[in-house]
């Protein structure tokens, strides 16, 4: 009980000033510790890569290694990115191939996953449950299991050594999660919104395009990032399906660098760094949507 000695005004003033108590608990400390460890774990290799790529060949092999190179050189980047040099030509070709395959995979994944996710969420059709489970079961097997079957299929269709083979393969990796993610999104959008649009004069398709799709933008973006990264980083299938040198994607191409310029560590690191740039940029720009998608869309089901 408040004592009579202090007036209500005084007590109000005190209450206003009172800060919420911030106690540091053991669990907070543990959480920070874990986060810092994870951060180091992912950042140190990146930093090492960047550092090495800026060194000369000689400096790169020095012991003990320097963290911050005393002579910073951009020669490896220049060599990689100048279309005139032989290495640059090759690297830019791989880079372009990767961009092409990843972009196509992304576009196709979105074009398929958006209607599929919506259909699984809102339509009732025979085999709905079965199809959906089939889609998810695909994700339970490691990708490598499908290498030989897919290779045989691609050979049958005459697709070996084409980019199309890779795009199709990457779709089979990316689509299950993409469809599942988007279905979660559409589950959370009340059916009444579509109803309202249809009453207001929209066809079912217009209602989807004009009202429902804008609401699932975060989900669509998350799907796109996910599909892009899968395609961008994939190595084994690209190695198996492609043989022509001018079709190779970056991960396989880098492997060749590795073989041919065994000793050129800075060059390899520079190439790796350039390779990581598109993903980092995409992620930085769109991460807001991505996080929203993962926390919001997939809560249900």
């Amino acid at each position: 009980m408040a004592s009579n000695a202090t007036s209500v005004e005084e007590r109000r003033e005190r209450a206003r000033r009172r800060k919420p108590k911030r106690q540091i608990r053991m669990s907070d400390v543990l959480a920070w510790f874990t986060l810092i460890l994870l951060l180091l774990f992912s950042l140190v290799p990146m930093a090492w890569m960047l550092s090495t790529s800026l060194k000369t060949q000689f400096a790169a092999l020095q012991l003990p290694p320097e963290w911050i190179p005393s002579n910073i050189t951009f020669e490896h980047y220049i060599r990689l990115l100048s279309p005139g040099s032989e290495v640059g030509q090759e690297f830019l070709r791989y880079f372009w191939n990767s961009i092409f395959v990843s972009t196509m995979t992304t576009l196709a994944a979105v074009a398929i996953a958006v209607p599929a996710g919506y259909a699984f969420s809102k339509f009732r059709f025979p085999g709905r449950q079965g199809f959906f489970i089939a889609v998810l079961i695909r994700n339970m097997f490691p990708a490598i299991v499908f290498l030989i079957p897919l290779f045989i299929m691609m050979r049958t269709f005459g697709l070996i050594d084409t980019h199309l083979a890779l795009i199709i393969t990457y779709l089979t990796f990316g689509l299950p999660l993409a469809i599942w993610l988007l279905k979660g999104f559409y589950d959370n959008i009340p059916t009444e919104l579509e109803y309202a649009a249809r009453i207001d004069g929209a066809s079912r398709f217009q209602a989807f395009i004009r009202i429902i799709m804008p609401l699932s933008t975060p989900g669509i973006i998350a799907t796109a990032i996910y599909a892009f990264i899968i395609a961008w980083n994939e190595y084994v299938y690209a190695l198996t399906f492609l043989s022509s040198r001018n079709l190779l994607t970056l991960p396989v191409g880098l492997q060749r660098f590795f073989d041919e310029f065994v000793t050129n560590w800075p060059g390899l690191m520079a190439a790796s760094f350039v390779m990581s740039i598109p993903v980092v940029i995409i992620f930085l720009v769109l991460q807001r949507f991505f996080i929203q998608a993962l926390t919001e869309g997939a809560v249900k089901s």
């Binding site: 009444e192 109803y195 009453i199 004069g201 929209a202 066809s203 009202i211 804008p214």
Partner: protein, 381 residues
């Protein structure tokens, strides 16, 4: 505006029979309430009228058009949803403009209509906001506005007031009734709140288990219920039901109640009871039609006071008769102790007689004109 006619609507969700042979004619300019307990098929019926879900059987006519197979957009109706269903990414202005844009209205006409509607609902100052920046009552107005912005052939409303607080609900109720009267609109209004239905509707369709139990003006639903369900559902506190057996001695027909009471029927009520096929009837008496007495009189039903609830204007007295508890409304100053003996008389010309077997009301001429179990389309009386 136009008449809406429902012809034998049946809707199955897989094996669930949600709407079971609904026949209704909603006259041009009428305000009809679909009233019933949760899960009785009100929303389903409304969605069928709108064309949002597929019909299993039956026909729907709006005006002189058979719209049974038309898309919602071609039925020319407007609808207000229980959760409002405002477009979250559009401003209030664009929410109101959307129905007009979809109908290819010229831009300046859209602007004019939107501003006029906003004015009418006093939401002009909200036009630039997003739905999530509005209070519940404001969202409700915008939802209403999106329906009013056009000139549809009928308005459908699915419990539009149920998410509002009590005070706002009373205010919006009056406003909605005004709109209906000034626009002369055909309105179909779903609610499970009998007060809303009684106060606003020209005609009420009482639904239960996917069927229309009775269709008529509020007074008729209240004073002349067609069956036990309607009698028990309408009115608060609910109607009392006294079960008993018919017996005739020395030319006087009485009802013998289960725990030993006997209540003599007037000739008119005896005439009604004579149409009973099972020999057992249910007397329905609203709490206001119970007359309490402290002394024993012949022909009264003995009971005892269970509890007394003064409410200010009136007093509710709960009475134990046998193992049942009944409610009477008495004058505000009635006081009694629990278990006081009490005698109950009924206002004989205000009570209803139901056949216990069929649960249908029994009338003097033996005809139940409101019986729903025929196939005919019901016209409000």
């Amino acid at each position: 505006m136009a008449e809406v006619r429902l012809d034998g609507l049946i809707k199955y969700y897989d094996d669930v029979l949600a709407v079971d042979d609904v026949n209704l004619t909603i006259k041009d300019g009428d305000f009809v309430a679909l009233l019933g307990p949760s899960g009785c098929g009100k929303t389903t019926t409304l969605n069928l009228i709108a064309g949002l879900i597929d019909l299993s059987d039956g026909e729907i006519w709006i005006g002189d058009r058979d719209v049974t197979d038309l898309d919602p957009k071609d039925r020319d109706i407007a609808m207000v949803f229980q959760n409002y269903a405002l477009y979250p990414t559009k401003t209030v202005y664009n929410n109101l403009a959307f129905p007009l844009q979809m109908r290819k209205t010229p831009k300046n006409a859209i602007d004019e209509r939107v501003r006029k509607t906003a004015e009418m609902l006093s939401i002009t100052h909200l036009l630039d906001r997003l739905p999530r920046e509005l209070s519940g009552g404001q969202q409700q107005r915008v939802a209403l506005g999106r329906a009013l912005v056009r000139n549809p052939r009928a308005f459908l409303m699915d419990e539009p007031l149920s998410n509002l607080d009590a005070k706002l609900r009373v205010q919006m109720r009056a406003e909605l009734k005004r709109f209906h009267q000034t626009l002369n609109a055909t309105m179909i209004y779903v609610t499970h709140d009998q007060l809303e239905a009684m106060t606003m509707a020209d005609n009420i369709a009482v639904m239960s288990d996917g069927r229309v139990q009775q269709y008529g003006p509020p007074e008729e639903i209240f004073y002349d219920p067609a069956n036990l369900f309607v009698a028990g559902f309408i009115g608060s506190p609910a109607m009392n039901f006294l079960h008993g057996e018919i017996s005739t001695e020395n030319g006087v027909t009485s009802v013998k109640g289960d725990p030993g009471w006997v209540y003599p029927l007037t000739p008119a009520n005896a005439q009604k009871a004579s149409h009973c096929t099972s020999g057992r009837i249910i007397i329905g008496a609203r709490p206001a039609n119970l007359i309490l007495s402290r002394e024993e009189h012949p022909g009264m039903i003995p009971g005892s006071v269970y509890t007394v609830e003064p409410t200010g204007d009136t007093t509710f007295v709960h009475i134990t008769i046998g193992d049942q508890i009944y409610v009477a409304i008495t004058d505000p100053f009635f006081r009694a102790e629990p278990d006081d003996p009490i005698w109950v008389d009924l206002e004989d010309d205000r009570i209803h007689i139901f056949d216990e077997a069929t649960e249908e009301v029994l009338r003097e001429d033996g005809l139940n004109s409101q019986s729903i179990h025929g196939k005919k389309t019901l016209q409000p009386a």
